[in-house]
Amino acid sequence: METLGNHAGAEPAILARGVWKSLTGPPVLRDVSLTVRSGETLALLGPNGAGKSTLLHVLAGVMRPSRGVVVILGRSVEDPAVRRYIGFAGHRSALYGHLTAIENLRFFADLYALPYRHAELSLELFGLGEYRDTPVRLLSRGIVQRVSLARAILHDPRVLLLDEPFTGLDASSAARLRELLSSLRLRGCAIVVATHQWNEARELADHAVVLVGGRVAANEPAAGLTPDRLAALYEERRPGVRGPRPGAPVYAESTE
């Protein structure tokens, strides 16, 4: 029963089976299944509108699937006991603009019943010391992104879900994030990173799932990814579903 004490290779840390999700109208996610083991990193790729963000919300338990199950560390994601182990950083920062960086982190430390020391450590980890007492609404996007990530890992999660975490990060912050992800991996954290960039995916991840039109178009080792392969997959989408602009394959240039 006590599956929360996880060891790499045992139960999958993240399991989604037959997940469907509808918001307003047609389903955004269709029959999505995937597994991620402890210590494994999964890259979630797909064109805009493929449902990556929604899938991350569903995996985090923030949204309920219309159909299907999500199991985290052996328990249903609906189980409140499991929430303590999930970290999530979405597209938006989930921070309160009128509070300072440290106030935001301390707030979440309160919610997770952690000593404020964790907030300080998280702040340091992302090199945010000088922005400590600045209200978040006055910070630039890149800094806000770092604070958001600091918030996400504050409670030392065993499962980490990140939606395009490298957006807006400068080179040194991006390097710091990569280091952090490596060390989390070594500690057995299961990580899912949604990204546009195939090279990022290949570098970070063990495995990749490509989402097209809400369906899993491919589920394979990340090493095999190439831009051509991705473009081909994106083209395979059924007519009538929103997809990327026709023409060039959909990958962004690396950030500065």
């Binding site: 949204m63 309920r64 303590r84 938006r92 309160y96 603009g97 919610l111 019943a113 918030r151």
Partner: protein
């Protein structure tokens, strides 16, 4: 408990810094009272008071959940290992405090504009005010969350709030009328009964329903 205090502190801090809600609610309330008094509503003073409070509350409560949505903060709250009802309770208490502040100003203007004397039993009036305000805030906080989360337009909040708040409005106005006319607690017992039941209903309902409101 710590989480609840944290949420409460967060909401009060933000209101203290942003200063969006309380001033606009107060100004609106004063405007309504003034308009009422100027157009001869002095005879219907208690009704004017409570309608003003309801309308001002609609405005404030619609905004109060907005701060949880602009950066998807609500997701982070829902993700945290806390009972979702604490979000409601924390917000509710914060809203109540803001409402009380606004009410203070409103009552002051009310006594002046409508020539209201001190009632014989001020305790009775205080009770009516307290129960009525609590009822408005409890229902309004729930509706505020619903309207914000469903991305329904804010104008919908008064449309939803007012019919549901009719028992509170009727009871509060009648009770206020009686108390200002010099009657005591005993005379307003049925009104207080309605107010108390209302507060009970809309205190209990969110405990069960809030989780459904807040998680998609």
């Amino acid at each position: 408990m710590r989480a609840l205090l944290a949420i409460l502190r967060k909401d009060l801090t933000i209101e203290g810094r942003a200063r969006e809600l309380a001033p606009s609610m107060a100004v609106l309330a004063l405007l309504l009272l003034t308009a009422g008094s100027a157009s001869g509503m002095v005879n219907a003073a208690p009704a004017m008071l409570w309608i003003t409070l309801l309308v001002a509350a609609s405005l404030g409560l619609a905004r109060s959940f907005h701060q949880e949505l602009d950066q998807d903060q609500l997701s982070a709250l829902v993700l945290a290992p806390i009972n979702p009802v604490l979000i409601y309770v924390g917000k509710g208490i914060a809203n109540l405090l803001v409402m009380i502040a606004v009410e203070g100003v409103t009552l002051f203007a009310f006594t002046i504009l409508y020539n209201v004397g001190v009632p014989r039993e001020p305790g009775a009036l205080a009770l009516v005010l307290l129960l009525g305000t609590a009822g408005i805030v409890m229902l309004g906080t729930l509706l505020g969350a619903m309207v914000a989360v469903a991305r329904t337009r804010e104008v919908l909040l008064p449309v939803l709030l007012l019919p549901l708040a009719v028992p509170l409005l009727v009871a509060a106005v009648r009770a206020t009328e009686k108390v200002l006319a010099g009657q005591g607690i005993a005379a307003v017992s049925s009104e207080v009964g309605v107010l108390a039941s209302f507060a009970l209903l809309f205190g209990a309902a969110p405990v069960v329903l809030f989780e459904f409101v807040v998680r998609e």
